[in-house]
């Protein structure tokens, strides 16, 4: 298991390759979040990601532990960037290794849904109208909430 919060970019291929050492692994599911050039109707030139050092790592570890208690998964990797980013930059990487795709896909989606609502990161966007803090989305709360009522279908 590996959880990193860093300013530097990451190499998806290298991250996934590092997870393939275990011969029992049959599935690697991964998600990569990328900076878009538009959000809430405004052009986005770039954004700055702030976090709560110390709590961020603890929150991510807790989310990964919850996933490990729900699914029979073998390895998890989370990388989240902070600092200044521009459109097309990678923001976040979550990968889950398991014996089969079902638990790997489900755990990967669960970790992302909880990361969006529980991990202390905040985005500030640079738009033509000036800088603005990104507002949390009700749809992200709903996505995390559905895991408490059973697995989404």
């Amino acid at each position: 298991m590996s959880i990193r919060v860093q300013r530097e970019d990451f190499d998806v291929g290298a991250e996934l390759a590092a997870m393939r050492g275990n011969r029992a692994i049959g599935a690697l599911a991964c998600f990569v979040g990328v900076v878009r050039d538009v959000n809430d109707g405004a052009a986005v030139r770039g954004l700055t990601l702030e976090h709560y050092p110390g709590m961020t790592e603890k929150a991510l570890e807790d989310i990964v532990e919850q996933a490990r208690s729900r699914w029979n998964i073998m390895d998890v990797r989370v990388v989240h960037r902070v600092g200044a980013l521009v459109p097309t930059d990678q923001i976040v990487f979550v990968a889950v290794a398991g014996a089969h795709r079902g638990e790997a896909f489900a755990a990967c989606e669960f970790i992302m849904d909880y990361l969006k609502t529980q991990a202390p990161f905040w985005k500030k966007e640079q738009t033509p109208g000036g800088e603005r803090w990104v507002n949390a989305r009700a749809s992200d709360d709903a996505a995390a909430q559905r895991w408490q009522e059973g697995e989404p279908t």
Binding site: E50, Y52, A119, W122, A136
Partner: protein
């Protein structure tokens, strides 16, 4: 000295001080990212501490108003208004998170 050193120092001193941290929009609006606060008598929950900060007026009254979607953590774990606080604790106020 970072906030965790500060936290340890306060716990050792056995004072009634807590460390309060502010992030993102709150940090900017309140003009500070951290402060040490002496807990007034009877202030034993996050909600009671928020009321103390609200009473400062100005930006504090605006940003910490109950209608605002403020989140809180105690000792780096998500908490609620009824979560208890004690001297030496690290209490953070921030907007709903927007990572990922």
């Amino acid at each position: 000295m970072d906030s965790s050193d500060l936290h340890k120092g306060l716990a050792q001193a056995g004072t009634a001080l807590v460390t309060v941290l502010y992030f993102a929009r709150l940090r900017e609006a309140l003009g500070r990212d951290a402060e040490q606060l002496s807990l007034p008598a009877g202030v034993a929950t996050v909600g009671a501490l928020r009321d103390v900060l609200l009473a400062r007026g100005g930006a504090w009254a605006v940003e910490l108003a109950s209608a605002k979607p403020v989140r809180v953590a105690v000792n780096q774990t998500m908490a609620r208004l009824d979560t208890g606080i004690r001297p030496g604790d690290e209490i953070a106020f921030f907007p709903p998170v927007t990572g990922g």
